[in-house]
Symmetry: C2
């Protein structure tokens, strides 16, 4: 029998995720039943939403149970199939968990992205984060050419796509990121009009200069103080889009929103994006994202960490901002 | 020459309004020029928005200057007219200020409400507060029959109309008010389904019982802690309508909003209502409100204070919750 390395939830974290919140186990794989298939995970997506999945109770999905394999989007290759719709060698993606191998009955499995792209892009540019950026900006934000779009967490996967897609739609784009390297990346590589280094610049002063007419769309990937400050710069009729992922962070990490009444005087609206709501429309996003990635108008950067045992440490990078690009765990 | 008693802004208040923030002056009326008319104010509307007008700077309107007559909606009778469109005896309403007499060039003056209603209703049920409730609920809130509507400040002018109009639209209505007397008024006189006395009841516990399915529309007249708590009870697809008036309160009076991320998981939206935006559609509201007031399906209660010199004390009643009904100052 094959052995399967699995990362199980061992404890509910208080605040930041610690290595001891997980337990790495080696278990025997069960024998495949008729209708099942065995997938070898090649890449595991590390997403901010995971922090919330570790909490007890249900928000938009139920929390992971203690002792259960940690939930994760993954992409892998079918090794054995007793399911008529799948063949060994098929590349598939799904919520297959932080583990080397997964047994599936085929439900909710999707084909991986086209062969012209690296396998790992299925859980990034062409996966949930890509769709979050696409529908969050285009459907919730409704950008119009000439409008000013502000995005926080702009060097992150979702933020970088939001900004680039906004540029493709003719908007002026301002990104907020931490540090000069990320800020230069936004303007020099991704084509943002400007970038604000929140660690070293005064956000209010920068926005007064860069967006004197105000911000028409603020796409929020971080919540808390940056969101609160951004509210004061809303233009008339502004849309604030809260990326669903932030609802899953450790609650203690943000204070209260003081400037929400700016929504009233600016005639703004604030709402959130939960990507699950857009699954029925995924094909629209995949079609456009594929085209933009192919023709080079959309740049995609990955940050790959190797080794399933690196999962707890890698997950924490998301919250400290250490990663630069879409964080992916490669199973060696 | 006639003397005109005027209430001037004497100082910008810090926190609550004090009598010394105003100065009462007696001034001679200027001689009427061609194209002008003289109006004797009979009733002055006391509105929460006034607190904001006393601040420096511009939000949706500019702040009142120190030494200027305090801004107010009033209704009165034309005494003298050198304007072709107005005759002595005409009942008119407008932003004529806290003063006994006003000289106007006719701009922005509107006829008072129909003669079947008391003159004072022009600045209440059929004035800005009535329109705020009407468009805030119907246009921003988009109520559907069978939905649950929660309204705070429910015994106030705007809140009481929001709740009653929601009932007319087939909604289940829960009001939040301070004290048993106001709460009984909501259920026994206004026909609300239930009322929560925020001074003596736990809002979370009450909402769990009264709205186990969540709240589809929350119409917020108070902001702060009650808004923050209400957010946790939003139903899927909920609309939060912030009454513009609250944006004008003393900012120090509310803490930060902690539960705004509930907007994400509930797929809710939050936006504000500024009644000025709906002036072009005022006739719609006046038509419906007139009908509902005439056929008795809309109850209206006034709280009348007499004497222009009572203005500072009366204004403060709005913020302490002492008034019970639409607060109006009658000029004796």
């Amino acid at each position: 029998m094959k052995k399967n390395t699995q990362v199980l939830l061992a404890a509910r974290p208080q605040g930041a995720v610690k290595a001891s919140d997980f337990r790495i186990d080696m278990n025997e794989l069960p024998e495949l039943q008729a209708g099942q298939l065995l997938i070898r995970n090649h890449f595991i997506s590390l997403d901010p939403a995971m922090r919330g999945w570790m909490n007890a109770g249900t928000t938009y999905v139920r929390g992971v149970e203690i002792g259960e394999v940690m939930r994760a989007f993954t992409v892998g290759i079918v090794e054995v199939s007793k399911h008529p719709a799948f063949q060994p060698g098929d590349a598939v993606q799904g919520l297959l968990g932080v583990q080397e191998y997964a047994v599936s009955n085929g439900e909710h499995l999707l084909p991986a992205a086209g062969k012209q792209f690296p396998l790992s892009w299925s859980i990034g540019a062409l996966g949930m984060p890509g769709l979050t950026a696409y529908f969050g900006l285009l459907d919730k934000g409704q950008p119009k050419a000439g409008e000013t779009v502000l995005v926080s967490g702009a060097a992150g996967m979702v933020g970088s796509f939001v900004g680039q897609i906004a540029k493709l739609k003719g908007c002026k784009v301002i990104g907020i990121a931490g540090g000069a390297v990320k800020c230069r990346y936004l303007t020099e590589v991704l084509g943002f009009d400007s970038a604000i280094d929140y660690k070293n610049e005064d956000l209010h002063a920068a926005l007064k200069t860069l967006a004197p007419e105000g911000v028409h769309i603020y796409f929020d990937n971080v919540g808390g103080e940056i969101l609160d400050k951004a509210l004061l710069h809303l233009a008339f009729g502004a849309r604030v889009v809260l990326c669903g992922a932030i609802s899953q962070y450790n609650e203690a990490s943000y204070g209260g929103l003081k400037n929400y009444l700016k929504l009233v005087t600016a005639r703004g609206t604030m709402s959130g994006i939960i990507v699950l709501d857009y699954f029925p429309r995924a094909a629209e996003a995949i079609r456009d994202l594929t085209q933009w990635l192919n023709d080079g108008s959309l740049q995609y950067k990955e940050h790959i960490v190797e080794g399933i045992e690196q999962f707890p440490a890698a997950l924490n990078m998301l919250f400290t901002g250490e990663n630069f690009g879409k964080l992916v765990l490669k199973i060696s």
